[in-house]
């Protein structure tokens, strides 16, 4: 691969000649590899950021309560999460616009407004849970959250306001790769390999059968693996990065690799939970799980899990806050790009700043009802997900809008199946939380 940089007029622009900076390579494989590396980012980020603080808590709880029995559920979610985000890829590349803008334009202001309010509400509550996790992990590490939380919030603002999409993306991709430390953690805990393979490939019921607790956890796993903000985030991210029609296959590969990484990392979190269970600990939260693991392994593992909790929350916060800012900017018609400096996109960055600062502020309020907020977020996200996907599904069948990129019959079959299953699960989840007396304990 040559390092030579070529600048030449862009093809196909007859009225205006814009300089295009390209990198010259000699072989097709180098061209493909370099193209992929240039397109790579939005898919990985949306998937890894989905393993946020709530996900760390849910997956490790699943491992701590049911060992490796629910690994197959996570594996089953790999195609689900990929299929949904792949639709977003096509929509984003074909229109060059974000999801909120598309709902506004194609369904009208009334539906657009509802979608935006739903998104902003759940996003804000989710951000509170991210900072709650940061607070918890910092506490266990002996750092005063009153200092640590504002510092993390300041760092999150700094990585976004640099006026360079590439700078933000590189920083976040680096944080995504840090998430691979979960593999080291899982390996260090001497995982029962045969049990893991069995738990992943053979669906089985844990001892005790199908209890309401198990049902709740399965739904929570589904809810945490596929979240409404992901649709808005990836489409806006693709639009901001200005991915081209020729990039579709690489963006799909990016999304698929991201899905594989996030599902495998989720499995590693379950393995960590399983390790604490095997040593007789009862799960309360992932920070406490880290402390428990520290008692029978090295202090390194304890700190690694706590740091990974913070990393997960940071990734979740930057992605969720950006999905809010992009969506709000698209709807209000404000300039909304990470490529723009602060002075040229004040509204866009203001929403990002307010999202981060307000969520961090709520966590620092003494005796704030964080547990209630976490519960509310899980249910709201579960309830709203199917409706968000229905808008996506309708947009993807809009031939006037997407032409050859519209869904094919097999896409629709897969997606409607996913929607029906998610709808049924969200209904059960909502009913379980809203009317627990309907579900007597086992």
């Amino acid at each position: 691969m040559s390092d030579k940089v070529l600048t030449l007029p862009a093809a196909g622009l007859e009225t205006e000649v814009l300089p295009v900076r390209g990198r010259v390579v000699k072989s097709k494989w180098a061209r493909d590899l370099l193209t992929f590396l240039m397109v790579f980012g939005p898919g990985l980020i949306v998937m890894v950021a989905d393993n946020d603080a709530g996900a760390v808590s849910t997956y490790s709880q699943a491992g701590a309560q049911y060992g490796t029995h629910l690994l197959w559920v996570v594996l089953l979610l790999l195609p689900v999460t990929y299929f949904i985000q792949e639709m977003v890829v096509r929509l984003g590349i074909a229109t060059g616009k974000g999801h909120a803008a598309m709902i506004y334009q194609r369904f009208g202001k009334w539906w657009g407004l509802f979608s935006l309010i739903d998104l902003e509400l759940v996003n804000f509550l989710t951000l509170v849970t991210e900072f709650a996790a940061i607070d918890l992990a910092l506490n266990k590490m002996g750092v005063d959250p009153r200092i640590g939380v504002p510092l993390v919030a300041a760092g999150l603002v700094l990585i976004a306001v640099s006026g360079s999409y590439r700078r933000w993306e590189r920083t976040v991709v680096f944080l995504c790769f840090l998430d691979l430390a979960w593999f080291v953690i899982a390996f260090w805990l001497r995982p029962p390999v045969a049990q893991i393979v069995r738990g992943s490939l053979l669906p089985s019921m844990p001892a005790g059968g199908l209890t309401p607790d198990l049902m709740f956890l399965v739904i929570a796993i589904v809810g945490t693996t596929v979240a409404p903000w992901q649709l808005f985030f990836q489409q806006s991210c693709i639009a901001d990065k200005r991915l081209r029609f020729a990039d579709v296959k690489w963006a799909r590969l990016d999304t698929f690799l991201g899905a594989c990484i996030t599902i495998t990392v989720a499995g590693c979190m379950m393995i960590a939970g399983n390790a604490s269970r095997v040593h007789g600990f009862t799960f309360t939260d992932p920070a406490q799980m880290a402390m428990d693991i520290g008692t029978f392994s090295s202090g390194f593992l304890k700190n690694a899990i706590l740091l990974m909790m913070i990393n997960a929350a940071v990734l979740g916060t930057t992605a969720i806050s950006l999905s809010s800012s992009w969506a709000y900017g698209e709807v209000r018609g404000w300039p909304h790009s990470l490529q723009l400096p602060l002075r040229k996109a004040k509204g866009f960055y203001f929403v990002y700043l307010v999202s981060v600062a307000a969520a961090a502020g709520v966590v620092l309020i003494p005796r704030a009802p964080l547990q209630l907020i976490i519960l509310g977020v899980q249910v709201l996200a579960g309830v709203m997900l199917p409706s968000a996907i229905i808008f996506l599904q309708l947009l993807l069948n809009d031939k006037e809008l997407l032409g050859e990129h519209a869904n094919r019959p097999w896409n629709n079959l897969v997606n409607w199946t996913i929607i029906i299953v998610l709808f049924a699960l969200s209904l059960i989840l909502a009913a379980q939380v809203a009317a627990p007396k309907l579900f007597p304990a086992a």
């Binding site: 900076r21 616009k97 334009q105 739903d118 081209r244 309830v383 909502a430």
Partner: protein, 75 residues
């Protein structure tokens, strides 16, 4: 379509490829969504979406009530 994967026609680059980062590339023509206007929807789609909206509002109120109940707001 921009120049991303097109071989360059100049002699010195005849057997070379130029790869352009999306942010460095010329903007390509996308679907003109502004001119499309709102999506035509059949009555059944409208009714389904309205039912979905009603379901969502109901579930949100239910969740809000449950959370406030857990917070012992109602005593």
């Amino acid at each position: 379509m921009a120049t991303m994967t097109n071989p360059i026609e100049r002699n010195e680059f005849r057997h070379h490829f130029v790869v352009v980062h999306p942010l460095d590339d010329a903007p390509e023509t996308k679907v003109d969504t502004d001119s499309l206007g709102p999506m035509p929807m059949t009555m059944s789609v409208r009714v389904s979406l309205l039912s979905l909206r009603a379901y969502l509002v109901l579930m949100m109120l239910l969740v809000l009530y449950h959370v406030l109940d857990l917070a012992k707001v109602f005593g």
